[in-house]
Structures are given as C-alpha cells and as structure tokens.
C-alpha cells in the first residue's frame, strides 16, 4: 500500500438540509443580521450583508493560527441565497487549525410547512474517503463501524 493511494487529495462538501416552520423572510434575518448571527453561529466583526464586504469570526486558536476566520460576502440574493468565503488556519497545522479555504452557501426555498434551509460548506481538502470519518466525534462505536466500511472499500 502506498501513501499516495491513501492520501490522494480531493475536496468535499458538508451539507446540512432542514425544514424550519418559519418563513424565508424570518430565516433570512437570522442569516444576515449580525446580532442574530451571533446568537446561533458566532458574533461576526465588520459584517454587512453587502457583496464584497469583509468580516471575521473569532474561534479557538491552534498553533501559529490565531483562530480568526476571514470571510467575504460573495453573493446576496434576498430570501433565496447567501454566500460567503470562509478562510483560516495555518500551513504549520494538521487536522484542526490547518489551512482552510472554503465557501459557505445558504439556500432558502419556500415549502408547504415553512422553509427548507440548505447549507453547503464546500472546498474541504481531505484524504480520500475522509467523509466517512466526519462523524467521529459522535461516538466511538459509530466511528469504528464507519472506519470499517471505508477501509474495506480500499481492499
């Protein structure tokens, strides 16, 4: 087995998709109002829901990285779509705190009982098949069974 086979890099997305019993207008506010963002994501600094605006989030530092997430608003389509870049980390780190150059895309769609909110956090550079490890923190047993299915595929 060669390292190249295991560590072949590719980018992957995280997708969370849920229906909320609220209107797109209400959910839009929680996505694009700095005070409300601070109540469920993290308090942003310098945020304006205007394309081109640079803003930051402050999170846990790691190694040479001070924990600042640098963002730029890329697209604002009221009540429908909101996109910003999400960058941070440092070359010197591995795992948490490593170089991160990603994009967060929020999509809202009106449905019968409310709004479907879809988050796509894209651009993660990960070792091949790494997505199977993404729920590791949820539990030892679950992790191991997932690891099993991934590593079996490699044989």
């Amino acid at each position: 087995m060669t390292d190249a086979a295991v560590l072949k890099s590719e980018t992957q997305d995280i997708v969370v998709d849920e229906v909320f019993p609220h209107t797109p207008e209400t959910i839009w506010k929680t996505l694009t109002n700095g005070d409300l963002m601070g109540r469920w994501i993290m308090p942003p600094t310098g945020f304006q829901p205007v394309e081109g605006t640079h803003f930051t989030f402050q999170t846990t530092p790691a190694g040479a990285w001070d924990g600042t997430i640098r963002c730029q608003v890329l697209e604002v389509r009221p009540h429908e779509r909101f996109v910003y870049s999400w960058q941070g980390g440092h070359e010197g780190n591995t795992g948490y705190g490593s170089r991160l150059d990603t994009v967060v895309t929020w999509t809202l769609a009106k449905v019968d009982n409310g709004t479907r909110l879809r988050l796509v956090h894209s651009g993660f550079v990960t070792p091949k098949n790494d997505s199977a490890y993404k729920n590791m923190s949820e539990g030892w047993t679950k992790v191991l069974s997932r690891l099993g299915s991934v590593t079996d595929e490699q044989h």
């Binding site: 087995m1 849920e18 469920w40 190694g63 795992g95 030892w140 047993t141």
Partner: protein, 110 residues
C-alpha cells in the same frame, strides 16, 4: 494547542486491516484486556494478535500496562486525533448550529 500524534497514514494503515480493526474494537469495548483474552474466540493465533497489538501501539491507538505476569491493553482515543480534521469539526459544528437556529427561531418567531 499543538497535539503530537502519529501521522494520519499510520493510523489509517493500522485500521485498514479487518482483523486488526476487530482487535482494536474489542480493546475499545473493554476497559482493559490481555492478549490471552483477545486471542480467545478470535480465530487467530496469539502470535498474530501480538503482531496486531504492536501495530496498534505504534500507531498510538493502544497503550499497555504490565502487571505481574500479565500485560493489559487499553484503547487510546487520542490516537484517532489525526483523523479528526476540519471536515469532522465543521460536520459537528453546523449540525449544532442548526439546532441553535431552531431554538432561536422559536424565540423570535413563536
């Protein structure tokens, strides 16, 4: 908070072998376990189990504690740290944020 860990390849390689992974799962499910106990019902020899334990130890997944004539093995959850990366961090992060958003929406739009 830099954590010194075995490289991700060592961990993945150690867990890629189905028998070795089964050994690791049994250790993880036990508080502490001896080679003899691990060998019992495993369908492989004690020598083979010892080899797997050696690989798991080198990958930082298992620690040993000698006591009298026995050696007890236990799982080292930190050994899996190299596999816990940005993707796993944000997978958990966003699911938790969605739960927080649901709570916030109930407050501001009951």
């Amino acid at each position: 908070m830099m954590i010194e860990t075995a490289p991700i390849t060592a961990v993945m390689r150690a867990l890629a072998d189905p028998t070795r992974r089964a050994v690791f799962e049994r250790i993880a499910n036990a508080e502490e376990i001896t080679v003899v106990e691990l060998t019992r019902g495993s369908g492989v020899t004690q020598g083979a189990i010892s080899q797997h334990l050696k690989s798991l130890k080198q990958a930082g997944l298992v620690a040993e504690r000698p006591e009298g004539r026995n050696v007890y093995y236990r799982a080292e959850p930190e050994g899996l740290a190299p596999l816990v990366d940005w993707m796993s961090h944000y997978g958990t992060f966003w699911r938790e944020r969605f739960a927080d958003l649901r709570t916030l929406l109930k407050e501001i739009d009951p």
